[in-house]
């Protein structure tokens, strides 16, 4: 079996395309440095895992689990995140136009778009430390919608479907918003890719880091 390595997926838009909500500098660092580091560390952990598997070295296999979880989670989460964002003013950012099925499910669950947004914002701002906020479809596509947080780089795992995620690590916003994370959270709605969210909600998500 030839060793296969994970590589950094290209962004589906330019580094400055999410301005003014997320600056070019943040996007460059976040993609080229942070995301790349998770991939490097994941590849190293997987390679050590493959060697330990060959020698049936169970203690080493167990000791690698957390590295795989953290760095694999970082790779999965960022891969999903880039795709569930879109430049402001693009058709994908129009909830009603781009995500009719998801919109209906949101309104039936929270009463209104505004109530959903408010609940999501409160959840994001309540995170203690590094982590992510997600809209999740429980149990699979077209499931019950839930707002959840995952700590550090824990990913949303199957059968739940991550409809969209918001990175709440300080590196995602600090250069631009400093300690005003509420400003970042309010701005993120102008760049959510509802077309991608609709696709995930109705059809689920295949392995987002498939080789």
């Amino acid at each position: 079996m030839a060793a296969q390595f994970h590589t950094l997926p290209p962004l589906p838009y330019a580094y400055d395309a999410l301005e003014p909500v997320i600056s070019k500098q943040i996007m460059e660092l976040h993609h080229q440095k942070h995301h790349q580091t998770y991939i490097n560390n994941l590849n190293a952990a997987l390679s050590a895992h493959a060697s330990a598997t060959q020698t049936n070295d169970v203690p080493t296999l167990i000791s690698l689990q957390q590295k795989i979880r953290f760095n694999g989670g970082g790779h999965i989460n960022h891969s999903l995140f880039w795709k569930n964002l879109t430049p402001p003013g693009t058709p994908g950012n129009d909830l009603a136009g781009a995500a009719p099925t998801l919109r209906e499910a949101i309104v039936s669950r929270w009463g209104s778009e505004a109530a959903f947004t408010e609940a999501f914002n409160q959840t994001l701002l309540g995170l203690q430390g590094s982590g992510w906020g997600w809209l999740v479809s429980s149990g699979g596509a077209r499931g019950r919608l839930e707002i959840v947080t995952t700590k550090d780089q824990d990913p949303v795992t199957g059968p739940d479907v991550p409809v969209f995620g918001v990175d709440m690590w300080e590196h995602a916003y600090y250069l631009q918003y400093l300690n005003n994370k509420a400003g970042y959270v309010q701005g993120i709605w102008k760049i959510i890719n509802w077309a991608e969210a609709e696709k995930r909600f109705t059809a689920g998500v295949e392995n987002p880091v498939k080789l």
Binding site: G129, H171, Y174, N179
Partner: protein, 228 residues
Amino acid sequence: MASLLCTSARVALRSGASATSKAGAAGLTFARGKATLPDLSYDYGALEPSISGKIMELHHKNHHNTYVTNYNNAVEQLQEAQHKGDISAQIALKPAINFNGGGHLNHSLFWENLAPSSAGGGEPPSGALSQAINTTYGSLDEFKNKMNAALAGIQGSGWAWLVKDKQTGQIGIRTYANQDPVVGQYVPLLGIDAWEHAYYLQYQNRKAEYFKAIWDVINWKQVEKRFS
């Protein structure tokens, strides 16, 4: 210590104490039972070039102050819940007390275990602490390497601490997630903040450079005091 602190706050409130009083080894101050933001004993720019003045200002005036505000709010709600005998509300407040009280404790200790080089920052430890470090780690440099490795290994937000074990008197390195404070079996001696807000404006993703530079502004005199 978080519970100890809120107890002090409550006692101060009950007794109607109006004067500012010192509570705890961290030198945390309370005015009328409320936690308050402690002053720094140096200027915001005094730790440059290790830590920029802008980082210090935001970190102290905004981040630390938010922990103080939210801790006071949580304590107020806790007092209400205790007054009403509402046990589930008291338990539900535990994460807020831990996180915000921990943030207040950690930062209060952090500011004091830093100092500009003009005030002795970076001067190596001496006496019993120096001996304990040499016995445990071989040398001060080896201790720094181990501490930096612990800092680099934190997955997410958190702190690394040099601690003293109350049971054995021995020192060791421990990491804590988010704002979990050093309480219980261990005494905090030296803390280094590994949250991204502690370095990002200056170092961005190059956190190893921050961990390296901070040793130039460590206040070992303060660490010695905590050790003894």
